[in-house]
Amino acid sequence: MALTREQMAQRVARELEDGFYVNLGIGIPTLVANYIPDGIDVMLQSENGLLGMGRYPTEAEVDPDMINAGKETVTARPGAAIFSSAESFAMIRGGHVDLTVLGAFEVDQQGNIASWMIPGKLIKGMGGAMDLVAGAENIICTMTHASKHGESKLLEKCSLPLTGAGCINRVLTDLAYLEIKDGAFILKERAPGVSVEEIVEKTAGKLIVPDHVPEMTFDA
């Protein structure tokens, strides 16, 4: 069975380490915050200028001056820091964020990522995504493995305009967890009940399949 959005978030959360500064993109990446393992503390960076993002506010706490990069009202945890967007992207561009999680339309075996623009469709803009992928050394892409029509999104070469070149090293899809290295995807784990064959079939880029590909496990 393909992973649910929640399971994808859960699986990504296992990559968190105690003391990580993490930037979570919109969508599934945002859900990761709900699955931070016990005993691990991470500090969430929001690129508008907030380090130490807290929970959503209660109705009484709502403050128009306190939003996150998704423009949602949020709170700051004790010990947070708030700063300008120039400072925020100084820390992003300068490689100070330990882990970035973001969605994508396509990823290829060279670590290229396309996530912001589909020619012919309305272009909304890249926001901070290009800075994030250029600045982070440690990025996890979350995406479905293939489109609704069964077309692979893990490609030999991205077909859409890039967000960043050669910057992605880990991908979590609804079917598998993969690493990208030396021009190939390496299959590290598969979703429960998903066969290696299905993953091979739905991966258009070069895929290296080790002898043993463990199945992910999730608490019931």
Partner: protein, 233 residues
């Protein structure tokens, strides 16, 4: 000794001198920390053919969206413009030129403009459509593109508190692009919620030193919320 008293008492005075064809740098992120009354005054004046540098372009009927209604913007440098149906329409009709600019690059272009740095290298956008036509250079084995900075005819800024010398502090995430915008205007206008006496702001806690600021006005603000997300109390 009126030399450093930068207070003005009407929005008309605050935006005095703005003309069609000018470049305006605006603070704000989404609808947070936007100079909403200064924008309304630009709308009222009906100046046209503006070039805007702003992370976003407001929403229909609020913020910079107001200037779209008046078809006052001919070009905008922004990182994300997906909140606005009118914008979409003007873009598809080629009524407005959109220069999509990565958020960090946009912030740095303003900061560099204010700081007398005409251009800088960044890895952001290398190998993407954003890097096309821009100089590429390698430093320590990595590729970077050259980005030029910007100085506007006007910068419009929203602060929290200021003194009459133009020293400004911002509140929480309403800071966002405002401090950089404030440095990058030939004329910088700041509207704030409260004007305090010189000395009330701790000198080492001022976000925007008054040297960057030409006019200060105290206003009242709607502070519209774009996405109200709450949890159970």
């Amino acid at each position: 000794m009126a030399g450093f008293d930068k207070r003005v008492y009407s929005y008309e005075e605050a935006m005095d001198g703005i003309e069609s064809g000018m470049t305006v740098i605006a603070g704000g992120f989404g609808l947070c920390g936007i100079p909403e009354n200064l924008i309304s005054e630009i709308k009222r004046r009906a100046v046209k053919d503006l070039t805007i540098y702003s992370n976003n372009c407001g929403v229909d009927g609020f913020g910079l969206g107001l200037l779209l209604e008046g078809r006052q913007i001919s070009r905008i440098f922004a990182s994300y413009v997906g909140e606005n149906a009118l914008f979409e329409q003007q873009m598809l009709n080629d009524e407005i030129e959109v220069v999509l600019t990565p958020q960090g690059t946009l912030a740095e272009k303003m900061r560099a403009g204010g700081a007398g740095i005409p251009a800088f290298y960044t890895a952001t956008g290398y190998g993407t459509p954003i890097g096309e036509g821009k100089e590429v250079r390698e430093f320590n084995g990595r590729h970077y593109i050259l980005e030029e900075s910007v100085v506007g005819d006007f910068a419009i800024v929203k602060g929290w508190k200021a003194d009459r010398y133009g020293n400004v502090v911002y509140r929480d995430t309403a800071q966002n692009f405002n401090p950089m915008a404030a440095t990058a205007g030939k004329i910088t206008v700041v509207e704030v919620e409260e004007i305090v006496e010189p000395g009330e702001l701790r000198p080492d806690q001022i976000h925007t030193p008054g040297i960057y600021v030409d006019r200060i006005i105290q206003g009242t603000f709607e502070k519209r919320i774009e996405k109200r997300t709450v949890r159970e109390g």
